[in-house]
């Protein structure tokens, strides 16, 4: 692609600019969480472009309608404040979509001019009959702070902290619930694919306990073909299930790159005494074992035999394929939690992650990755707050066999001449990004087949005779 000719001039120095960003902005993450709540439409308080860009970015991956409203700032609103626009947006979106919930996010623009959205909403609710109003939830997501993942966790936090009754109102009931042996479990799913969320549903259902899975865009961002046009696609975590999270026996929070102040699991723990189990995304055997173990602990029930069988098949596949993977060098990139779990998965198959990179700044990323490299025999360059151009420059200095991550890695794979296995978000240049399974034993099986086959094809393509048996 583009910078091949000038590559020699580039020195290994940090750039002030970001070149081919490996992250997105915060409102995007929040919008997808809100699309995972039943009857919820996201509303971005900012310029029209923010909602349109995020819609387009999401549609190219999910290939589903993703309606996101905007308060559509004008010059006047930037000067005098956007309250009127926000109110008009809430009313118009209510009229058109009849949503149960409106998930409002801020932007760099509304944050910079100091919009006090919670106050606007408070005033709005005070002056309107609450029985007619949809639930209004607000996530503060200035695009200059963090990445899309911060917006993602912020939206979860705002849903939980505003919908789950606090200690005063709800503790008594929650306590009673637990005393009579409630086995309810909360699972916060992390930024995973709709297929992953369906897998989580299947796993949770197999434990036979009531549960809340948040967010749940397994249907709303990957639905069937419709008979009639749906204003807001079916599916999503029901508000009642979010409200019930305070009564659970535990919260499994998948993903650890969450600021402590904005961790919905910590909120449930401190406000409602629901124990928090922070987990990595269950990708690969080790992390999936941990996930099932945590589920057994919270529910007091054993893992269903069918998962053990699938785990057995996964081990069998690892063994069948290990010689194709052994010692191969991989670049893994994406958001922090995705990369950490992918590192863990690759490491257990004998593949050596030689670059683990994430676009957002993180003080713990390096330590997390190191702790997950149990077997790798090659040094790993661990980079946070980086971008694709820097990853490529570092990669050119080493030999790499495979690139694993979202489809923006085409820039790396083309320039390095090695295969790209597409997973994570976004997958804009293939169909089915929303149906890629990463989580659980079946997810590991799927990823292992993909990675192994890409390596086998690479060998096949480079052999003069081609091989019909490999």
């Amino acid at each position: 692609m583009s910078d091949v000719s000038v590559q020699k001039k580039i020195q290994a120095r940090p750039f002030a600019s970001t070149r081919n960003a490996c992250k997105l902005c915060a409102p995007l993450g929040a919008c997808f969480v809100f699309r995972g709540v039943e009857g919820c439409i996201p509303l971005i308080h900012g310029s029209q472009g923010c909602s349109t860009y995020i819609r387009r970015y999401g549609i190219s991956h999910f290939r589903e309608p993703i309606d996101i409203a905007s308060s559509n700032f004008t010059e006047a609103s930037a000067i005098f404040g956007g309250r009127d626009n926000l109110v008009q947006a809430i009313e118009n979106v209510s009229r058109q979509y009849a949503p149960k919930v409106i998930g409002i996010t801020s932007t760099c623009l509304s944050e910079t001019i100091g919009e006090n959205v919670p106050m606007y909403l408070f005033d709005y609710k005070r002056t309107h009959d609450s029985s007619d109003l949809p639930v209004l939830v607000y996530a503060s997501t200035p695009s200059y702070r963090g990445s899309h993942m911060d917006g993602f966790h912020e939206a979860i936090w705002s849903l939980v902290s505003s919908l789950v009754p606090c200690r005063d109102e709800g503790l008594h009931r929650g306590e009673k619930e637990r005393e009579r042996g409630s086995s309810r479990v909360n699972v916060i799913s992390g930024f995973v694919s709709p297929e992953d969320i369906r897998e989580l549903h299947e796993i949770l259902t197999s434990f036979g306990v009531p549960y809340t899975l948040l967010p749940d865009y397994s249907e709303s961002l990957d639905g069937p073909s419709w008979e009639t046009y749906q204003k807001l696609p079916e599916g999503g975590t029901p508000v009642a299930d979010i409200r019930a999270m305070g009564e659970a026996m535990g919260t499994l929070y998948l993903g650890k790159a969450v600021s402590p102040e904005r961790n919905a699991g910590s909120w449930l723990e401190s406000e409602r005494d629901v124990p928090l189990y922070p987990l990595n995304l269950p990708i690969g055997i080790e992390e999936t074992d941990r996930f099932f173990f945590a589920l057994e602990r919270v529910t007091g029930k054993p893992t269903h035999a069918k998962w053990k069988k699938i785990r057995g098949r996964l081990v069998d596949a690892y063994i069948d394929g290990h010689k194709y993977c052994s010692g191969k060098k991989a670049i893994v990139y994406g958001d922090e939690d995705f990369v950490c779990s992918m590192v863990s998965f690759l490491d257990e198959t004998g593949i050596n992650p030689v670059i683990a990179a994430t676009g957002a700044p993180s003080t713990v990323f390096a330590a997390r990755v190191k702790s997950l490299l149990r077997n790798s025999r090659s040094p790993c360059r661990i980079m946070d707050d980086t971008d694709y151009a820097t990853i490529l420059e570092v990669a050119r200095e080493m030999s790499v066999d495979i690139v694993i991550g979202n489809s923006k890695g085409l820039y790396l794979s083309r320039n390095l001449g090695v295969p790209l296995v597409r997973c994570g978000f976004p997958v804009h240049d293939r169909i089915g990004g929303q149906r890629i399974l990463h989580l659980g034993y079946r997810g590991a099986l799927n990823l292992f087949d993909q990675v192994c086959n890409a390596l086998m094809q690479s060998k096949q393509d480079s052999a003069r005779s081609g091989y019909t048996y490999i």
């Binding site: 583009s2 310029s47 623009l109 008979e227």
Partner: protein, 457 residues
């Protein structure tokens, strides 16, 4: 069924039934879920294909991430435009200002990538945090000896159209700088073609065959040096007039270059584009070459279209595109395929555009400005459209309604301009409309369309 929002009622009309003039050119209604983007988007898409320039987006990261490699604009040489550069402003920059970071970013990127010019796009918060982008650009321009041009594209300062204008103002500053390179007296600039899937090359080849020199394509497969001598062309030929007419007007005022608005989509419009340019020069050789070209291209094309038309005759189309000039061409192009347009709308049309759409469409056709997904789905259903022409954001609306779709937006990967573009267009429409997959669509089955039509094809 969706009620059209009160504030938008006059932005929709049914041809022959509603007598009012369509309202347009206003900011999108808050909460309406407009398909429009913003000022920044307008600037970014227009300047995007200038392949040897540095495009630096000054602001927090989102705007750069969402526009990385976004257009299918091809380059015959350098591909610097396919990189996404951002100052990636963080909280500290918002508090203390982003000028230092902008300066450092420009210097390092110019040193590293040696661009011929640099465009600096201001996004929403740049003005609010008090950055003097003009001053930084002027300083870097002095130090690095290349043009460094600010593009005033703060997202909220108007609509996408204002972004086109900001882009035109920036690119205008590049023109008129190379007075020496000789230019033929039969010479033009192509404005408003973005070389999507190589379309500029198709059009350039037509002009070459007519004996006309293309001095600069300004944007499509664009080069800074060509733009610097573009003021020496005899005529500006403007397609996608919504975006580039403003530049043509500036060049007319400054350099006295007349301009013509054309469209390269469909048979009539493509032919008249070439004839209009030929008649401007009024040279017997050019006239003859043009006639030959059109004759040979059209006679090769028509039999192919006839094949497609057999299957498409009587089907109905809905069109929702960015600029309405393209919509005109599409209405006409669809007629060649035997298809009637029952819904047509655009993000940024003007009142004259919509009046013209009234003239060229049938009674009962819905014409709309700045529509949204719910309105579009309603119109499609009401009018029984079999095909939607639009962009990526419209695609899932069509597919969920169980109707065919043709991507005519700036992300398309099929060349749809020129005579061969018309052939591609017909092929694409045909392939989608006649696909066997609709047999399984619940929406189609519910509408009874499969029993009536799909079964035969």
């Amino acid at each position: 069924m969706t009620e059209i929002l009160e504030q938008r009622k006059k932005q929709v009309l049914e041809n022959g039934k509603d007598s009012y003039a369509l309202e347009c050119g206003k900011a999108s209604t808050a909460g309406s879920v407009s398909q429009r983007a913003c000022v920044f988007c307008g600037s970014r898409v227009v300047l995007y294909p200038i392949a040897d320039a540095l495009h630096l987006i000054h602001g927090p990261i989102g705007c750069a991430s969402y526009t990385w490699d976004i257009r299918g604009s091809m380059s015959s040489g350098p591909e610097l435009h396919r990189m996404s550069f951002s100052t990636d402003l963080r909280e500290n920059d918002v508090v203390y200002g982003g000028e230092k970071k902008l300066y450092a970013a420009l210097v390092e990127l110019i040193d590293t990538y040696a661009p011929k010019a640099a465009f600096v796009y201001s996004t929403c918060i740049v003005g609010l945090i008090g950055d003097d982008v003009e001053a930084v650009c002027a300083r870097v321009s002095r130090e690095k000896l290349i043009p460094v041009l600010p593009v005033h594209s703060e997202g909220f300062k108007g609509t996408k159209k204002d972004g086109y204008r900001a882009a035109c103002e920036a690119v205008f500053k590049l023109t008129g700088k190379d007075p020496s390179t000789p230019v033929s007296k039969f010479s033009i600039n192509i404005l408003g073609d973005f070389n999507l899937a190589g379309e500029t090359w198709i059009i350039k080849d037509y002009y070459r065959r007519m004996g006309i020199e293309v001095v600069s394509c300004i944007t499509g497969d664009g080069r800074v040096d060509e733009i610097r001598r573009s003021h020496r062309a005899a005529l500006n030929v403007v397609q996608c007039s919504g975006s580039m007419t403003y530049l043509a007007k500036m060049m007319k005022d400054e350099y006295g270059i007349p301009f013509k608005r054309v469209s390269y989509f469909g048979i009539e419009d493509m032919s008249s584009a070439l004839y209009d340019v030929a008649s401007f020069f009024d040279d017997p050789e050019i006239n003859e070459a043009t006639e030959n070209l059109v004759r040979s291209e059209v006679s090769a094309l028509l039999p192919d279209l006839a094949d497609y038309r057999r299957d498409l005759e009587g089907r109905k189309a809905a069109i929702y595109v960015g600029g309405s000039f393209k919509a005109f061409s599409l209405v006409k192009a669809l007629r060649h395929l035997g298809m009637d347009t029952v819904v047509v709308g655009s993000q940024t049309g003007s009142s004259e555009d919509y009046e013209y759409l009234k003239e060229i469409t049938d009674e009962g056709t819905i014409i709309c400005d700045d529509a949204n997904p719910l309105e579009l789905s309603r119109f499609i259903l009401e009018k029984g459209a079999d095909l939607l022409i639009g962009g990526v954001k419209e695609r899932p609306i069509a597919f969920k309604m169980g109707i065919a779709f043709c991507d005519h937006n700036h992300e398309r990967k099929e060349a749809l301009a020129g005579f061969e573009g018309m052939r591609n267009f017909a092929r694409e429409v045909h392939a989608s409309v006649t696909s066997p997959v609709w047999k399984y669509s619940p929406a189609r089955l519910a509408m009874g369309k499969e029993a009536r039509k799909g079964g035969e094809s």
